[in-house]
Subunit: 127 residues, 2 copies
């Protein structure tokens, strides 16, 4: 079983790799047969090839991902809330997401479900 | 479909009712046949009677629940990170939880999964 510290470090590496557009770095965190549902309710990406293709699309828009508050870890699951800042043309857009990751015994991500929200910062405190 | 505003309000009412030990207030947010998995990995409580029994147990320890950052809402799902302050004897304990709720068309909670973490504030920033 991966320790809490390992799991939190993996979540932070994920946000760092996402901010750097580092798809190899992201894929290094995933297990052999991962699933990704991002956003929740969309068709699930199954397997490393489909997951890689998803992230290759995602990183075409440069973004900065900043964790808000602690990662919470219980059993094989971790959840973390983060802010995403993107620049589209001359517009700055801030959104938030809660990502929920399921880890295997080796500390690799077997499943990720994201609950992103483009309206999360409208009239809400950002910290 | 419930609006984002309705869903965020329901999440905040949940934290308020939890802080007040108001089990009726909590149950008013749940649909007719809800499921609760709290903590994640524990046996799921199925149906209003089992869910009520769970909360009646939970509120025997007075707590203060404070949301950290925005609720994120996507499709039928909402996630929110919050801090839980409890006093056990003369000890103050702070933990964090990310709760993920699935809402029905009427804005009632059909499923809740909690990822609570008693170690979340050890050496981590609390905001």
């Amino acid at each position: 079983m991966a320790s809490r510290q390992d799991i939190v470090a993996a979540c932070d590496r994920y946000l760092e790799a996402l901010s750097q557009g580092d798809v190899d770095g992201i894929m290094a965190l995933y297990a052999e047969q991962p699933t990704v549902e991002d956003p929740v309710g969309s068709p699930e990406k199954l397997g490393r090839a489909a997951v890689r293709e998803f992230y290759e699309g995602a990183v075409t828009i440069p973004l900065k991902a900043t964790r808000l508050g602690p990662v919470t870890v219980a059993a094989d699951r971790a959840a973390f809330l983060f802010r995403i800042d993107v620049t589209v043309g001359d517009q700055q857009i801030a959104l938030a997401s809660t990502d929920v990751m399921t880890f295997d015994e080796q500390g690799k991500v077997v499943a990720m479900v994201a609950i992103p929200d483009a309206d999360a910062f409208d009239g809400e405190p950002t910290s």
